[in-house]
């Protein structure tokens, strides 16, 4: 598979998941939140104070609707790919014993 096809197929599939499934994600507490609620001895965790621009996978300017999640998710996809690209700097060029790609 050519690099271009890998990107198209992989990112296409990821975007499809973000667009078709993420807006309908369950709002129930996750397993850790559930365990904290059932067995926790302390108070609720303090409200997060991080610098995150899109808390809860929503763009604040777009409200709480499905589109907000889709846009936030697509921004996240781009950011993840960019970060992988920054972290991964292979020492070697593409392996010369591989067939040449068109």
């Amino acid at each position: 598979m050519t690099p271009r096809r890998t990107w198209l197929l992989g990112l296409g599939l990821a975007a499809l998941i973000v667009a078709a499934l993420a807006p309908f994600a369950s709002e129930h507490p996750d397993t850790l939140e559930r365990t904290l609620a059932t067995h926790g001895t302390g108070a609720e965790p303090p409200p997060a104070t991080g610098p995150a621009p899109m808390p809860d996978y929503r763009v604040p300017a777009l409200g709480a609707g499905g589109w907000s999640t889709v846009v936030a998710g697509c921004v996240g996809l781009g950011a993840v790919v960019l970060l992988v690209r920054l972290l991964v700097r292979p020492r070697r060029a593409a392996n010369p014993s591989e067939p040449r790609r068109p």
Binding site: T6, A25, S26, Y57, L77, R89, P90, A94, S97
Partner: protein, 239 residues
């Protein structure tokens, strides 16, 4: 299972942050040494897939939700080093852009879902396929993915128990029990994704490549196109 800020005790946070920083640094170096440029598209798209899949919380028992984590998928497909780099990228973006997982708990989250999850899944899958042969690939991946859901969940409960957030044994039992259920979904998604990858990109499975007579363990490798391995390389730990 992303631990938020403000609940884990500073000593536990510090230990896990230290272990995670060292682990990630080492993983980045090893990944860069093992990989070549042709693997970058696979790494990037795997990271995108894991990020997207982690957004989809699905209900499990009794008003509780969980999502696919992907530790086993990246570990089995990309190997431990590149797998850890991909998990780190996903966790960093989730934390810094979406407030999913606390900034101070980043090390703990990477330790659980990365070092433990990816490392365990990769190791179990590799041992099983080395012992039972390549036909064990899918069953081994299923079990490894289930384990990579349950063990990090119990570890998370133990870490928070040591932090005094809740009593260790009941919390670890609860987390382990919930993840024994959602681990089944994790395992299903993992084997479906592995099967899909095998169809669209033969040779993309790191561990399978390492245990088959084919070449050194580089995920992009097309098994037919590489020269045979030297004994040192066939161990999968070529320097």
């Amino acid at each position: 299972m992303h631990i938020p800020d403000g609940i884990m005790s500073p000593p536990v946070l510090a230990v896990l942050a230290g272990v995670s920083a060292a682990g990630l640094g080492y993983a980045v170096r090893r990944a860069n040494r093992e990989l070549d440029e042709a693997t970058v598209p696979l790494l990037g798209t795997m990271a995108a897939f894991v990020f997207a899949a982690q957004m989809v919380n699905f209900p499990i028992a009794a008003g509780t939700s969980a999502h696919f984590v992907g530790s086993a998928l990246v570990g089995i497909t990309l190997g431990p080093w590149a797998g850890l780099v991909v998990m780190a990228a996903v966790l960093l973006i989730q934390c810094f852009l979406f407030q999913d997982g606390g900034l101070t708990a980043l090390g703990a989250n990477f330790f659980n879902m990365g070092i433990l999850g990816v490392g365990l899944a990769w190791g179990v899958h590799r041992l099983a396929t080395a012992w039972l042969g390549p036909r064990a690939h899918i069953p081994a991946a299923f079990f490894a993915a289930w384990l990579a859901s349950v063990v990090p969940a119990i570890a998370c409960a133990v870490e928070l128990g040591i932090s005094g957030v809740f009593p260790i044994v009941p919390a670890a039992t609860a987390m382990g029990g919930l993840h024994a259920v959602c681990g089944i979904a994790e395992a299903f998604v993992t084997v479906v994704a592995l099967d899909f990858l095998r169809k669209v990109r033969p040779g993309a499975v790191y561990a399978a490549a390492a245990t088959s007579p084919a070449p050194r363990a580089v995920p992009c490798a097309d098994p037919q196109s590489r020269p045979g391995p030297s004994p040192a390389e066939s161990s999968g730990n070529a320097p």
